[in-house]
Symmetry: C2
Subunit: 307 residues, 2 copies
């Protein structure tokens, strides 16, 4: 019965978490989730990563897409096109219930933590799913065409433009949500999921005191590389790292976590990186990190748990 | 080309309006709609009567139910049951787009009038659909079990309880929406639809200056009785009139409008009422007022136009 705390973005993280829950009880798992992608769309507060994690743990996620609810329909979205031009963010009819509920609770003065707990409960999720912060935090991407919300860059622009920089709006004032620092301190194992190191894990690490808590925690800290052979498993991590002047490699990600990391799990395709990463003072485990099947997820989770 | 202004509630009104639009262009029609039924549900501003009128004029209304959008699905509502116990108000997935759009615009500071114009435009409605007021106004029903919002009484409680009284919360401060008084003054014909005389037409008449404008307007004012042979065509008008100590009859409704009304259209079943109503100084027209088919609607509208 190991107490585990995971730092997570959306889809990449959800795969490893699926694997972890085959080894440990959800009740022993706390997940700190990126909220930099949160966005208000047509007056509704949408938390893409929190939803992906909760839907995954509830077993209702659309596995093919990695997000949204399995078998969802899109009649609302179709009808909305009558009113608004911008319907680039696909909200399903069932998924929408979560956004409406969340927005109503926030309007009543509830915190995002309280909302996440209520949504988790409603979906019968046993793990504790915490937003990284209850405060305003927005990830913006700087491109030649201007500065846009991360979701706009990712979904509407399909991450086509080169990245000139990343802005974390609100980072100076954002406090960790209640339970976040405790979850890092009290854990026996902290897992950094194979999520985007800049806009998913990077945002969580940017929250006041979180990085310090990781450095001080006696937990074993294990990260899984989201980059295999110089290519991100999915998403725009490549453009983001390059845009920040960083090398697109497992090594480069390890460097971002080196000040607190114990073990970095890299893919067999990157075994040549092992020595270079170990020079950072980080132990390296080499295994298959591509998660296509449930078996892949379970195996990788086992490696993480045994690291 | 007669300029017509109609005072309307929801379903009863929509039938007559359907008939009217077969004789006159929508562009010559202004409809002042009750907003006393408006309600915030799960943080969304719902305007039941405005929607019924707009959906009807757009030709997308669910004719069997009289409200909502034809062929709509209810996946959102089903999913919402996971979160909230109270899902007595049936919101369809396509219908929901209207509520989300409206709520977002109101949140941006737009008035309900502006929203109604935008919704009408989006649905290609040519008639001008005005809320009776842009201000807060809520119809509450007093019963032995307590005081509840009209929609709660009607939909959740199925109008089972006896009515002890009716409260118009906000009536002292509510101003007519922009265009309402002008529409009454400038019209050649003002039609009071066969809607509930207390909670649909009564609310409109209760708004400051509206009744005065009706008295002063040189328009011909014609009302259609919502009560046939002592029974409301639909809805809780019987319980409401009785609860206010009024007789449940066409005569009783005529009395509520007598100070400004020119012609009252009653059903053949009520021809015996004719003399009594004429004593109120109101002309009476007797015809078939039951609107089951499109032909019924068109015929009744013709009678109204020729009154």
């Amino acid at each position: 019965m190991t107490l585990i705390t995971a730092l997570a973005g959306g889809v990449g993280a959800s795969k490893l978490l699926t694997g972890l829950t085959k080894h440990v009880k959800q009740e022993d798992l706390t997940i700190i989730v990126n909220t930099g992608d949160d966005i208000e769309l047509n007056g509704l507060h949408v938390s893409p990563d929190l939803d992906t994690i909760i839907y995954t743990l509830a077993g209702v996620v659309d596995e093919a897409k990695g997000w949204g609810i399995q078998g969802d329909t899109f009649y609302f979205l179709e009808a909305l096109r009558r009113f608004v031009e911008e319907t680039w963010f696909a909200v399903g009819d069932r998924d929408l219930a979560t956004h409406v509920f969340r927005t109503a609770l926030l309007k009543q003065g509830k915190t995002l933590s309280e909302v996440s707990a209520a949504v988790s409960r409603a979906f019968g999720v046993g793990a504790r799913v915490l937003p990284m912060t209850d405060d305003y935090f927005q990830t913006r991407i700087v491109t030649e065409r201007g500065v846009v919300h991360f979701q706009e860059y990712l979904v509407k622009w399909q991450a086509r433009d080169g990245v000139l920089g990343v802005e974390f709006v609100g980072v100076d004032l954002a406090k960790p949500a209640v339970g976040v620092l405790e979850a890092v301190q009290d854990a026996e194992l902290v897992v950094l999921c194979p999520s985007n190191p800049v806009v998913s894990i990077g945002t969580i690490l940017s929250i006041n005191c979180v990085r310090d808590a990781l450095r001080r925690s006696s937990a074993r800290k294990v990260a899984v590389s989201p980059i295999i052979a110089g290519v991100p498993v999915r998403g725009p991590a490549g453009k983001l790292l390059a845009g920040l002047g960083l090398e697109v490699s497992a090594y480069s990600v390890a460097k971002l976590y080196a000040d607190f990391l114990d073990v970095f799990v890299i893919d067999v395709a990157d075994s040549a990186e092992k020595a270079r990463i170990e020079e950072l003072g980080v132990n390296v485990k080499v295994t298959n990190t591509v998660m296509r099947t449930l078996e892949d997820k379970v195996s990788l989770a086992k490696v993480v748990l045994e690291s």
